[in-house]
C-alpha cells in the first residue's frame, strides 16, 4: 500500500504526459483536403488545360455542366449504380478505341433507351478510318448495352484547339 502511495504521483504525471501527447499529434487522415479535379500550377506555366479541367468540380452546374446526362441521378431515380458502372465502361471503351485522339471528356447522354456519346476527336486518322471506328464503336456498344448507341463527334485539327489556358 505504501509502495502504491509513493508511486501514485509518478503515475499521474505519466498519464498526463500521455494524454498531452495524444491531443497534440493528429494521426488520422486529413479529411478537409480536396484534390480531385484540381490541377497544380507548374513552374514553367506550360501545363495545358481544357475548359473542363480549368474549372474545378465545385463549378459543376455554374460554369460547366455534367458529363453524364441521365435520369438515374435525380431523386428516386432507378438503377443509379448500374448506370454509373455502364458510364465508366463506355468511357473506357471510347478512350481505348479512339486511342490518343479524344481531346475532351466523353459526354454520355441517355434518352429513353438510346445512348448518345459525344466527344471532341483529333483529326489524326483519315476520314475513312474514322467512319470505320464510328461504326465499330456503335455496333459493339449497342450489342453490349442492348440499346441503340449513337456517336456524335466533333473533330479538331490540333490538340491545342481545345486548350483553354496554360498553368
Amino acid at each position: 500500500m505504501n509502495f502504491l502511495k509513493k508511486l501514485a504521483p509518478q503515475m499521474v504525471a505519466v498519464a498526463e504526459a500521455q494524454t498531452c501527447s495524444k491531443s497534440a499529434i493528429h494521426t488520422s487522415a486529413v479529411c478537409c483536403r480536396v484534390q480531385s479535379g484540381r490541377y497544380r500550377i507548374t513552374t514553367k506555366r506550360n501545363r495545358p488545360l481544357t475548359y473542363e479541367m480549368a474549372n474545378p468540380p465545385h463549378y459543376i452546374g455554374h460554369r460547366k455542366s455534367w458529363n453524364s446526362w441521365n435520369t438515374s441521378t435525380i431523386k428516386d431515380g432507378l438503377r443509379p449504380s448500374q448506370t454509373a458502372i455502364e458510364d465508366v465502361f463506355l468511357r473506357k471503351f471510347m478512350t481505348g478505341t479512339w486511342h490518343a485522339m479524344i481531346c475532351s471528356e466523353v459526354i454520355i447522354k441517355r434518352q429513353h433507351n438510346t445512348i448518345r456519346i459525344a466527344a471532341i476527336i483529333r483529326q489524326a486518322i483519315s476520314a475513312r478510318k474514322m467512319y470505320f471506328l464510328i461504326g465499330y464503336t456503335e455496333e459493339l456498344l449497342s450489342y453490349w448495352m442492348q440499346c441503340p448507341v449513337t456517336l456524335e463527334l466533333q473533330t479538331v485539327a490540333d490538340k491545342k484547339d481545345v486548350v483553354f489556358k496554360y498553368i
Binding site: 475548359y51 446526362w69 438503377r79 441517355r110 429513353h112 433507351n113 459525344a118 448495352m145 483553354f164
Partner: protein, 336 residues
Amino acid sequence: MSANLTRWLERSLHNCHATQSRTALRLFSGQQQQQQQQQQEVEEDEEFRVLNLRAVKKQVAARREIKRDPVPPPRSNRMAVDQDWTAAWPGPRSFHPASVPLPLRQGYTERGAAAPSKFANAELMKIPNFLHLTPPAIRQQCEAIKQFCTPWPKGLETEEKCKHHFPVEVVTTDFCHSLPTIRNPEARRVTVSLKLSELKFDAHAKDKFLRLVGERYNQETDVLTIVADRCPMRKQNYDYALYLLTACYHESFITEPWEETKSEADMEVYHFERNKAKLSAEAILNWNEAAGETKVAPSQGYAKSVEQLINEGENEYNIAKYKKEVLKMLNIPVAN
C-alpha cells in the same frame, strides 16, 4: 542422334558467320573504290571540300509525309439564309458547330475576355439543345399528325360540361426515364376522386358512407379521394379503386340489424327530434291544453337554433339566434 544434330547446327552457324564476314570485306573494298573516285572529282573541281574521314553518311531518307485530305470549311458557311432548317437538323442531336450557322459562345472567362467560341467547345455539346424543335418544325409535325386526330366530342365544350358528364376523375402518372426499362413502380398508383354531391344518398346512407370512407373524404371541398397502390399493375389498381367506390356506395344503403340498437349516447351529432328539448318545448307550448286537441309543435327555426347551439358550441352568434327564436316561439315582444 541429338548430339550429332547439335554439332551439325554449330557447323552451319559457323559457316554462316564466315560468309557474312566475307561479304563485309567485299563491301569495304567497294567503299574504297568509291572514295578514290570522289577524290578525283574533288581535284577536278578545285574547291575546298570537307574532309570526311569517317564513312560517308548515307542520305537520310526524307520522312514520308502523311497525306491528309484537306478538311473542308464548315458547312454553315455555305448555308443559304432561307434554307429549310428542319431538313438540316431533323432530330435531337448534340450540338455541332459546323452545322449551326449561329455565332454562339459558351463558357466562363475572366472579366473582359470573350467567352470560348462554338468550335471545339465541349460545353455546348453537353447541354441539351432544342434545335430540332423550332416553331416551324413543330408546325410541320403537327400538320403531319393532324390526319390521325378526331374531332372534339360535341357537348363537352366547357370544363363544367365535362365535369357534369364525367364526375369521376382518375389520375395516373406515366414516367419517362433514360433507362433500358420502361417500367416504373410508381406508375401503378391510381387516384380516383369525385364530388360526393354527385352521388344520391339518404340520411342514413350518407352517414354510413362517410363512416366507411373515413379520412378519404374531404369535408371542406366535398371531394372523395381513393388512392389505390396495393396491386402491381395500374389496371388492377384502377379496378380495385372503382370496386371500393361501388362497394362502399351499395353497402351504405344496407341497414344491419345491430344498427337499430344505436342509443342517444352513440349519436355523433345532436338531433332535436330525438331529444328532451323537443318534449320540453312541446310541454311549454301545450300548457293547459286538453288531451285530444291538436298539439302545437315547436317551429323549425327553434329546432335548428337548438341543434346549432349544441353541435357547434356556444358562441355569440348561436346564443343570440337561440334567444331570438325562443322569444319568437313564446310570443314575447322584443324590448329595444
